[in-house]
């Protein structure tokens, strides 16, 4: 963590003591995280650990109860348009209109991001995701895998500094999962900063630089992927969650 409590120019993500409560429920109980430019962080955690809440706060869709977070140097409390132009989000939901075509959807988002030549940029990212032949088809007729690829195109249309992926493999078949993995590899090789939430331990570990485990609204573990034993990680994961629950119950 930075000495003065502020992010350095190399930080893409800097989170300190982030808390979120919904009434009596503490979804996040003081999260500290940091990620440097070009790094890929995978966050594992059981349901209800607060992972999605964390992503929502970091992408300015929800406000924290307390704590601070900086994305690409911008404080999320300001939630200003400049900060949002640095973010791309791929979630369970596609954020796409079923009755509009793939091209119309992406032109809409390109215009919302105030990009120059929105039609050209939309066609370019659709082509990158291998959907050129279907760009004029309504999204409503797309398969889950195609919709997910178009979601990636939507998320990278503004060339964001950081991408948040919230369980991107959910509902995908083997072929679509492999396809998504390839797309993510391309993004990682392009040194794009990525934060991915997943339950899929092998997939999560094979691409990341850093790995974190969240349990009961807290960061239970964070380390470099080279420092963890991939073969025994599953056991370590369940043990970490169990320890975290014991700690919580003691308190």
């Amino acid at each position: 963590m930075s000495e003065n409590g502020l992010p350095s120019p190399n930080h893409i993500l800097f989170v300190k003591a982030l808390r979120k409560t919904f009434g009596l429920i503490q979804a996040l109980r003081g999260i500290d995280l940091e990620l440097f430019k070009g790094e890929f962080l995978t966050i594992f955690g059981p349901n209800g650990a607060g992972k999605t809440t964390l992503i929502k706060i970091l992408s300015s869709l929800a406000k924290p109860t307390s704590g601070t977070a900086y994305i690409a140097g911008f404080n999320i409390e300001d939630a200003n348009p400049q900060m949002r132009s640095q973010i791309g989000v791929i979630s369970h939901a596609s954020y796409l209109y079923d009755n509009l075509s793939a091209l119309e959807n992406l032109v809409f988002y390109a215009k919302m991001h105030r990009l120059e030549n929105p039609e050209e940029r939309a066609a370019q990212v659709i082509d990158e995701m291998g959907l050129k032949a279907r760009m004029h088809d309504p999204v409503g007729v797309f398969s889950r895998g195609m919709t997910q690829r178009l979601s990636i195109a939507r998320a990278i249309i503004n060339n964001p500094a950081i991408l948040f992926l919230d369980e991107p493999y959910t509902g995908l078949d083997q072929h679509a999962s492999e396809n998504l993995k390839e797309r993510l590899s391309v993004l990682r090789d392009a040194k794009r900063s990525i934060v991915m939430i997943t339950h899929d331990i092998p997939r999560g570990l094979e691409m990341c630089d850093r790995v974190a485990i969240m349990a009961d609204g807290k960061k239970a573990f964070m380390g470099h992927v080279d420092d963890v034993d991939k073969n025994s990680f599953e056991g370590f994961y369940y043990q970490t969650i169990a320890n975290s629950r014991v700690d919580k119950n003691r308190k």
């Binding site: 869709l61 979630s91 509009l100 991001h113």
Partner: protein
């Protein structure tokens, strides 16, 4: 400011494009409005009752109820596939999202109202041609108030499971002054009075329109935020 207006324009463009493809919103609003007028025309004996007395009420019932259908549908579409969140992730001020949706709603409602007027004129046998400009102005003033508040409450209700029920419950009591003023002015216009004699009502409705707009701008950020 130019970028802000361009983003509002983009949201309206998207809504119009979506509506041109599906025609869901407009078709349901128009059919509902026509049916409302038809039901009233068969239940009222116009040889006994003066059409100018009951007509304005029937007309505004058709406008308000069909408009509510449109408002409900408007944010429901944004909730499907999380599209509202997609818009909120864009570098856009939350008020631009509100204005884009509000103007789209006003546009669809206004088109429906213009198409309903001839139907109303034929069935109720009232002369609206001679007061058409004044009548359109009154309808527009009332529709602004309805859409300004309706869009705000529609965004609020869209987060609820009972949104179809909650929107009218929240909207109708609050929009009542605007509707009463609009019905009153429509009635007096059809009775032959001039718009210039109704400045108090115009002022009242305009005041409500401005208050609704101010409240919407102040609260939309918190309403859209989870």
């Amino acid at each position: 400011m130019k970028a802000y207006l361009a983003q509002i324009g983009t949201i309206i463009w998207k809504d119009v494009l979506s509506e041109l493809k599906t025609k869901e919103l407009f078709a349901s609003m128009f059919i509902f409005a026509v049916l409302s007028i038809l039901i009233f025309i068969f239940s009222i004996n116009l040889s006994i009752v003066n059409a100018n007395d009951v007509g304005p009420g029937v007309l505004w019932v058709a406008f308000i109820f069909s408009g509510t259908l449109g408002l409900n549908r408007s944010f429901t579409l944004e909730k499907e596939n999380g599209c509202l969140q997609g818009m909120m992730l864009s570098p856009v001020d939350r008020t631009a999202i509100y204005f884009g949706k509000m103007i789209s709603n006003l546009l669809f409602l206004s088109i429906m109202e213009v198409l309903i007027l001839p139907v109303f004129m034929i069935f109720f046998n009232v002369d609206i041609i001679s007061v058409l400009f004044s009548l359109l102005l009154v309808i527009f003033l009332g529709s602004i108030g309805f859409c300004v508040l309706g869009t705000l409450l529609s965004s609020l209700a869209s987060n609820l499971k009972t949104r179809e029920i909650m929107l009218p419950i929240l909207l109708y009591p609050l929009v009542t002054p605007v509707v009463i003023g609009s019905v009153n002015m429509t009635s007096r216009l059809l009775a032959g009075e001039k718009l210039a004699d109704m400045t108090k009502w115009i002022g009242l409705i305009s005041c409500f329109d401005i208050v609704f707009l101010a409240v919407s701008i102040m609260t939309i950020d918190h309403i859209l935020e989870e």
